[in-house]
Symmetry: C2
């Protein structure tokens, strides 16, 4: 059978789908795309067995077929071609012959029987919820919070981001136990009430960050899967089945001391402190806070180097010396740079510290949390 | 003792010098800068024992001193500071204290006695030659030819670029035995006659490619060293002492068949062929040339994939099938893309092929050479 397609149109599609193709996998069949031709549509599918991605274009084809083609090679060929018409001819001896005006390329394909079962959304379930979200809102929420997800496989739930529907909007929570990002988006509200919680794995989030744009996204949730339907592409992922930790119990309610300062000034100073803290196991930076005065310092004991800086701030609490992992402070501040000023809410050197924007935002409530590290003296 | 310096001015200097600092070395002392303060000048020196780089700025200092400071840390601190005045205080207990308006940083330094002997130019030698070269001309010559230098330590001379003064200019030759780049720059001529040949090591060339600009460069040559004096920086390198191979004997004089085609068209097709040739040990691409017709093809035998393309060309010789390493063809063509059309001069499937621009250039003669690879059939 044969079909024709524009090279750039197909390339665009493959570029969107290829993030679902695992780069290193013991199951080499997953390094392929599934091409399904049916009723004048070419649907392209990729999966790593956790997420699956799917997109279609209309083509002119006389018959239906399903085949499995090498993802990287097919994508690379399409990328390297100029804007041209490509004629695909699928032969019975497991070859796809691609023809352009000047060139001819032959690729071996596999039968679709060899492709594993794809994670699909259980549309027949009773308990399906849906919500329409602006793509930019969703991307922004992931951009702000995803850094705090855990990379440690010991606690699978923390390797994802918690989505929690509340009366005031949708809450995104990510934490690795050392720092926590907690964002309530007032702009995201389902039409029906949703009380379930969903833990979305990291891979789905990192792919969504790449492909989301300003267009609306239809999100469908079951007990086991979540589906994101963009304009021309659908991403389905298994949810993490483990219970998310009771993060609310970690958030201190009575951190009465407030340290207010300019985000970029502190971030720039922290980056310099990281030059001195890199060799210590906790990458420690020390905040010495007293009335309207903040000194931050870091020391490389092995090399005998140290740095300290004074930063303009407002503070009226009890003087405190408190240590942090400078990398974590850097991560938190880097995701707050759109805020001119931030407030650290503290209580003591041993208690979790809350970081919030100094100005309330009507559209969202953002709160970060950092656990302190012990100071030796 | 103390001195003051503008952070950005010093950063700019360190950024130029730091390429001479080796990133991985068993001699950790080489990971430092040598700071020499003398007569109101701060001279900064770095070396990997093959090349050395040196640059100075005027400072206000009361006394002279030589110290050895950690290169990366010092550079990183300066980079991370805004535009500000930095006060350096060098204490007797091996600390440098850097002070800015808000910050204070303390770095351990070592005594300059511990720094090894730096490759220096033997100015007392009789046989010193010199030539003034436009920086852009020199950079351009290295940019075009340096890719062909060998990475194999078995033949040390080929790990450098040959500089050969001729009546018509300066010739740059680089080869790894598989391909050769040969560029004669008519614009570079010494005032006195120079008959010696110089083999400049790869490291010096890659650093020069980064720092050369349109300004003139004074080049001094001895039997053992070559020195490049830029506006504000001096790079000295040992020459490679081994004899450069007799490259002229490799260049065929009677390749009578000429294949002429558009550089970018062939390059674009070669890049597609590389997708199919990557798994073969010789990365082979086959050129099938007959009257005004070129077909190039590549095959991935293991995967059962292949590609072929027809390219518009002019050719009037005997039909030839000839194989090349596609990576080498890609390298050669990538350094000829400023030429709209190129000519392949061939004789047979076993003989070296010459590639030249189709249009003569008054300022330079450029010739590339590629060795063919065997075709199995």
């Amino acid at each position: 059978m044969e079909f024709k397609v524009n090279s750039k149109e197909l390339e665009k599609l493959l570029t969107k789908i290829i993030p679902a193709v695992p780069t290193r996998t013991p199951m080499s069949i997953l390094e392929n795309f599934l091409f399904e031709i049916k009723d004048g549509f070419l649907t392209i599918i990729a999966t790593d067995l956790e997420i699956s991605m799917k997109s279609s274009i209309s083509i002119v084809a006389e018959s239906d077929i399903s085949i499995v083609v090498p993802a990287k090679l097919t994508h690379d060929i399409l990328k390297s071609l100029g804007d041209t018409t490509v004629n695909f001819m699928i032969t019975d001896n497991h070859k796809i012959n691609l023809k352009t005006d000047n060139g001819e390329y032959s690729i071996s394909y596999l039968s679709s029987d060899e492709y594993p079962e794809i994670p699909t959304f259980p549309t027949e379930e009773d308990d399906i919820k849906e919500v329409l979200i602006n793509g930019y809102d969703l991307k922004n929420a992931f951009d702000i919070t995803s850094f705090a997800m855990s990379k440690e496989e010991m606690r699978p739930a923390m390797m994802g981001t918690l989505l929690e529907f509340e009366e005031e909007g949708l809450r995104f929570v990510a934490t690795d136990g050392h720092r926590l990002a907690n964002l309530l988006k007032h702009t995201i509200k389902p039409e029906e009430e949703i009380t379930d919680k969903y833990v979305v794995p990291e891979k789905a989030i990192s792919v969504l960050q790449k492909i989301l744009d300003e267009k609306d996204v239809k999100v469908y949730m079951s007990n086991t899967h979540i589906s994101f339907k963009l304009n021309d592409i659908e991403l389905i992922t298994r949810l993490i089945g483990q219970k998310y930790p009771e993060y609310r119990s970690v958030i201190p309610l009575e951190n009465e001391f407030e340290l207010q300062l300019k985000t970029k000034e502190l971030l720039s100073a922290i980056k310099r402190m990281m030059l001195f803290s890199a060799t210590s196991s906790t990458r420690r930076v020390k905040f010495s806070i007293s009335e309207n005065s903040l000194e931050i310092s870091a020391e490389d004991v092995d090399m005998g180097n140290f740095g300290k800086e004074n930063i303009i701030c407002k503070y009226s609490g009890t003087p405190i010396d408190i240590g942090f992992n400078s990398q974590y402070v850097n991560d938190v501040l880097s995701h707050l740079v759109s805020e001119e000023e931030i407030i650290f809410r503290l209580h003591s050197a041993n208690k979790a510290v809350i970081v919030v924007p100094s100005v309330k935002n009507e559209k969202q409530d953002l709160m970060m949390l950092i656990m302190p590290v012990r100071l030796n003296n």
